[in-house]
């Protein structure tokens, strides 16, 4: 266990009483509660953390926040491994394990660093210019090599053991960022009683206040912070959400956020998710996300030990870690000097300060006070060192070059406002020439930007903006704000800056985009080859396309392109950002919806009964339906289904049909309405009778079918297919509300109210007799085919009985209130037991409907017309209805359109397959000879051979002809005979029995 050699003796917002052991690349270390993985690694003197993407250069820790491009690790192990995790935002926990990535065999010795040697050829876009010959080598040789080398960390791939959830929140004001601006805003709005949500990605609130030594109201800023947090906690309508990143801004004030509920723990505690994805609906929002510091492009600027100056202050002041023994500061403005001051205050050594600006007596005096050499008007040309920085090359104002040794180079080049969310709705940032940065340009409605995120970079401005915008938001959402308290004063600060985008003249690569290994030379090459629009620059060089989305690189790249093309930065382009602000775990946005919970499952009221009967279930849209009921000793599903079919045709069977859509239609115009939505007539349907109906889409193709019964003069019950129930309801509502609101139609779905079962077979009536109350006459005369009437069962339970048949047998459908669905099945089984009643599933149902030539889902595929399906005679010519005109279009009434017929194998033992195409015998298997396809097949135990339904050119006119059923994807190619689609009982004698 190490001794944390770089940890300061005191100070920092860490709990030194709470030691946390962790490991990195197998070595054990110790940190404290309050550390990030990065701060703990630095405390332990670990500098080399990763390898770069293309050249496998050693990389360390650049930043102290979400912009980190270099220090990416694989966090945790096994199924919980999280690749590409920024060490700078990982909250340290006891037992944490992390490993470096993109190196082999080890971080210190990485064989692929050989890429550095051939790097002259590996410039931007090199792959577009080569690997073209021979063509087949791309997939076989070149690409596998590239794929293996590319990528960074390794995902686990195996099932994520943690769970996730979603949540929805609503507020008057959403504050994004818990620094001084955000806290002031939340306080100002919260005091008015407005509902405020404040989210901060950090685990501790305070933003830059945690990293700086500042004063508010004449006292250390930490006191103001503590008092503010305490007051916010006391406000009941204010919700503070740390560890929560607002990642995206969507339409109408909806913000996406991810709350890391348990990422700071070894594992989520029982009953808690790992992360929670939030949809936050905010009437107003204030973006107070601060700013991100900018590096400078110079040779070797990626050496471990080169760090952003503000990050150095974070480590010193917040984490009590001095990341180097001997520091050189390279700064383009006043802000960097804070780093020198804070290092000195912490007892560290500042060897030199290189300030790009001309000499200034005050700065000279300060440098002297800090004991640092000052290179005014100078620049760092290069940084030396392999796995760790060991010195810099400095050019002074006179052009003289000197070498200086150091192990930490703090770089300060001003800050870029964290304006990402303002560009999520295509908003373009605007260039501020005074500040030399992009500031929010067009800002989406409802959003305001405060403090550094707006380019108002001083603490005083942050506090002022927050208070003002927070109180404005409260007023705008209907809350009266108390007289605003004066914004407390802060210690003075200056922000003089003269940014340096690139220092030329050094030896070695100078990186613009660290993570994607894009150098200044790559940008120059893009300019030379005409990839000058900013999007071409990004896409050609991959600048800004890495996991940090260019947070530290986009502006430098633009600046170098501007310099190359003789334009200004804003003429060259703008930086825009796409959501998410930082990468978001897929699991967090999926929440509960995975595995069986991906989508709801619908179960029929008879489901448990079917389960008890040993049913195998099948997905039918959202429903699970009993597919077949295997019995012990049955060899395969076909044996079972054959038994079920035979039992129905010989005796009686029962099959749940509760899943069919049932729509109750009432109103004076109900019959007229049906006339308009179905192709056939309804006005003459007598009360107490059912009729088969077919409805089209307005484009003339079939939408759905089903039986509809007339329960009263103005009362119908429509049934739809299981799959289309919702779609049909929506269609009918459209027809009523949008097309014909003048009709008196009152519709409601009653699908859930009724359990419905088909009882089919010659003994169906006898079975029903034992279930339907005695006063109802079920004789063929009293209750003929297509009768549909209320009955009672079980001594007065209201029920509906329909004499309809999908199987072609004497059949009924009995519907009872769903609470009685289970009982109905038991009563039927009991009544039918002496008759050999057999439960059957959707497979047997399918066999029998194919035997009868009834169309179903495979035929109603959205590409068929009523005419195609042999149902053209149903079409009424006396009325207008949905789809009438379009069904009559030229191409839909052509004689050679494939039409519905049956098929049987010429060799009776041969199996048919749905999806086979029909080819004329003797014709080559080619598209121009394609005559149609098989829609449905089944084995008929009645006929003792396979049978099929399908669509073939010429249709019924070709009955008796033979064709090939060509099924190359299953190696099938057999001869079939075209036949009538009705295989069993074509006269319908069974039906009417």
């Amino acid at each position: 266990m190490s001794t944390q050699p770089f940890r300061l003796a005191s100070g920092g917002l860490i709990d030194r009483g709470q030691q946390l052991d962790f490991s990195f690349d197998g070595a054990s270390y110790r940190g404290y509660a309050g550390d990030t993985l990065a701060s703990a690694l630095l405390a332990n003197g670990v500098r080399l953390v990763g390898r770069s993407f293309k050249y496998h250069r050693p990389r360390g820790i650049l930043s102290a926040g979400p912009e980190e491009p270099n220090a990416l690790v694989e966090l945790r192990s096994g199924a919980r491994r999280e690749p590409n995790t920024r060490a700078t935002v990982v909250e340290l926990f006891g037992g944490l394990t992390a490993a470096s990535q993109n190196r082999w065999p080890s971080l210190a010795f990485d064989l692929l660093s050989i890429n550095g040697l051939v790097s002259p050829a590996l410039v931007a876009g090199f792959y577009y210019k080569t690997f073209m010959w021979p063509a087949s080598f791309w997939e076989k040789l070149y690409e596998p090599l590239i794929r293996r080398a590319a990528g960074l960390g390794r995902a686990a791939g195996t099932e994520d053991p943690d769970h996730y959830e979603k949540a929805f929140a609503f507020c008057d004001l959403l504050v994004i960022g818990g620094g001084p601006a955000g806290l002031s805003a939340a306080l100002a709005a919260g005091r008015s009683g407005a509902r405020v949500i404040l989210c901060d990605e950090d685990f501790r609130l305070g933003g830059r206040l945690l990293a700086e030594k500042r004063e508010i109201g004449g006292k250390p800023a930490s006191e103001w912070l503590a008092a503010t947090l305490a007051e916010l906690a006391s406000l009941p309508e204010v919700r503070i959400m740390p560890r929560t990143t607002v990642f995206g801004l969507y339409d109408h004030g909806i913000y996406g956020a991810v709350e890391r509920v348990a990422d700071h723990l070894p594992q989520p505690p029982a009953h808690l998710p790992r992360q929670r994805g939030w949809r936050i609906q905010a009437k107003r929002a204030i973006l107070a996300a601060g700013a991100l510091e900018r590096p400078i492009v110079f040779a070797g600027n990626d050496r471990p030990g080169v760090m952003l100056a503000g990050a150095v202050r974070s480590y010193v002041n917040r984490h009590g870690v001095l990341p180097g023994r001997e520091t050189v500061l390279f700064t383009a403005g006043d802000d960097g000097w804070r780093t020198a001051r804070d290092i000195a205050a912490a007892g560290g050594k500042v060897a030199a300060i290189v300030d790009s600006r001309p000499a200034d007596p005050a700065r000279k005096a300060l440098a002297d006070k800090l004991g640092a050499r000052l290179f005014a008007g100078g620049a760092v040309m290069g940084a030396r060192g392999g796995r760790q920085l060991n010195g810099v090359t400095i050019r002074d104002a006179s052009g003289a070059v000197s070498e200086l040794s150091c192990d930490l180079l703090a770089v300060s080049n001003g800050w870029n406002p964290t304006l990402h969310l303002t560009s999520h709705q295509n908003g373009k940032p605007a260039w501020d020439d005074g500040l030399q940065c992009f500031v929010p340009g067009t800002v989406p409605a409802g959003l305001a930007v405060a403090g550094s995120a707006a380019g108002r970079l001083t603490l005083a401005q942050a506090l002022e903006d927050g208070a003002r915008l927070g109180s404005e938001a409260a007023v705008e959402t209907g809350f009266a704000t108390k007289l605003a308290e004066p914004v407390p004063a802060t210690d003075p600060e200056t922000n003089g800056l003269s940014p340096v985008w690139r220092v030329s003249g050094g030896r070695g690569k100078a990186f613009v985009d660290y993570q994607n290994d894009v150098t200044d030379k790559d940008v120059e090459l893009a300019a030379r080859e005409g990839f000058r629009p900013v999007e071409h620059l990004k896409r050609y060089t991959t600048l800004g396309m890495a996991t940090d989305q260019g947070k530290t690189s986009n502006l430098s790249g633009l600046a170098i392109m501007a310099e190359q093309t003789g334009r200004t930065i804003p003429q060259t382009g703008t930086t825009t950002f796409r959501p998410p602000y930082t990468p978001v775990a897929i699991g967090a946005l999926a929440g509960h919806h995975r595995g069986k919970d991906f989508r709801p499952i619908r179960l029929a009221p008879t489901h448990d009964w079917s389960k008890e009967q040993g049913a195998v279930f099948v997905e039918a849209g959202q429903w699970l339906r009993a597919q077949y009921y295997p019995r012990p000793g049955e060899a395969d599903w076909l044996t079972t289904v054959n038994r079920e079919v035979k039992a129905v045709r010989a005796g009686v069977g029962l099959c749940d049909v509760s899943t069919l859509g049932k729509i109750d239609i009432q109103g004076a115009d109900a019959a007229e309405f049906l006339e308009r939505v179905y192709i056939n007539g309804w006005k003459a349907l007598p009360i107490g009778k059912a009729r088969y109906g077919l409805m089209l889409r307005e484009d003339g193709f079939v939408m759905d079918d089903g039986t509809t019964s007339r329960l009263g003069e103005t009362h119908f019950l429509m049934t739809t297919t299981t799959a289309n129930a919702g779609k049909v309801m929506q269609h009918l509502e459209f027809c009523h509300q949008v097309l014909w609101p003048e009709l008196d139609i009152r519709m409601v779905s009653v699908s859930e109210q009724w359990a419905q079962v088909a009882i089919a077979g010659p003994k169906a009536r006898e079975t029903l007799r034992g279930v339907v109350d005695a006063e109802y006459d079920l004789s063929n005369e009293a209750f003929p085919y297509l009768a549909a009437r209320p009955v009672t069962v079980g001594g007065g339970i209201p029920a509906r009985l329909f004499r309809i048949s999908f199987s072609g047998e004497l059949a009924y459908e009995l519907a009872v209130p769903a609470d009685y669905g289970d009982a109905m099945m038991r009563a039927l089984m009991q009544a039918g037991a002496p008759l050999g009643i057999t439960p059957y599933g959707t497979e047997a149902l399918g066999v029998m409907r194919i035997e009868k030539g009834h169309v179903a889902g495979n035929e109603l595929n959205g590409q068929t017309t009523a005419r195609d399906l042999g149902l053209g005679r149903m079409v009424s010519s006396k009325k207008d209805f949905i789809g009438r005109l379009m069904a009559g279009r030229q191409a839909l009434v052509e004689q050679d359109r494939p039409a519905f017929v049956g098929f049987k194998p010429v060799e009776p033992g041969q199996r048919l397959r749905a999806g086979a195409h029909f080819i004329g015998i003797g014709k080559p298997a080619a598209m121009e000879h394609d005559e149609g396809y098989m829609t449905s097949v089944a084995y008929s135990p009645h006929l003792d051979h396979w049978m099929g339904l399908g669509l073939i050119r010429g249709g019924a006119a070709r009955i008796g002809e033979r064709v090939r059923a060509y099924d190359p994807v299953r190696n099938g190619d057999i001869v079939v005979e075209i036949c009538s689609p009705v295989f069993v009982d074509p006269e319908g004698a069974r039906l009417h029995g």
Binding site: D251, I254, Q730, M886
Partner: protein, 91 residues
């Protein structure tokens, strides 16, 4: 997006399903021409800008709504109940 259903109040757009242009007139009756119907079924203005369009509040009150929305910004400026357009007094 949020759509303010005149019946139910402001709801997430996820509760609704979208159909398309709202102001198309179905050619009604036996006298309607095939060409007019093809135009109704297939041709669209598809403006980049203000668009009146039909949404169905399927997860809510089942009302068809006419939403006026800008297809460039997604900003919604009006929501009406479709049925009220013709039914008027009857509803």
């Amino acid at each position: 997006m949020r759509i303010t259903c005149p019946h139910c109040g402001a709801r997430d757009a996820q509760e609704f399903s979208y159909l398309g242009a709202a102001d198309l007139q179905r050619p009604e009756g036996m006298a309607a021409s095939e060409a007019a119907m093809a135009d109704y079924v297939y041709q669209r203005d598809n403006p980049a800008g203000v668009h009146r369009e039909l949404w169905y509040h399927g997860a809510g009150c089942h009302a068809w709504l006419v939403v006026t929305r800008d297809t460039r910004s997604h900003a919604i400026t009006a929501v009406e109940v479709a049925k009220a357009r013709k039914a008027g007094a009857a509803a």
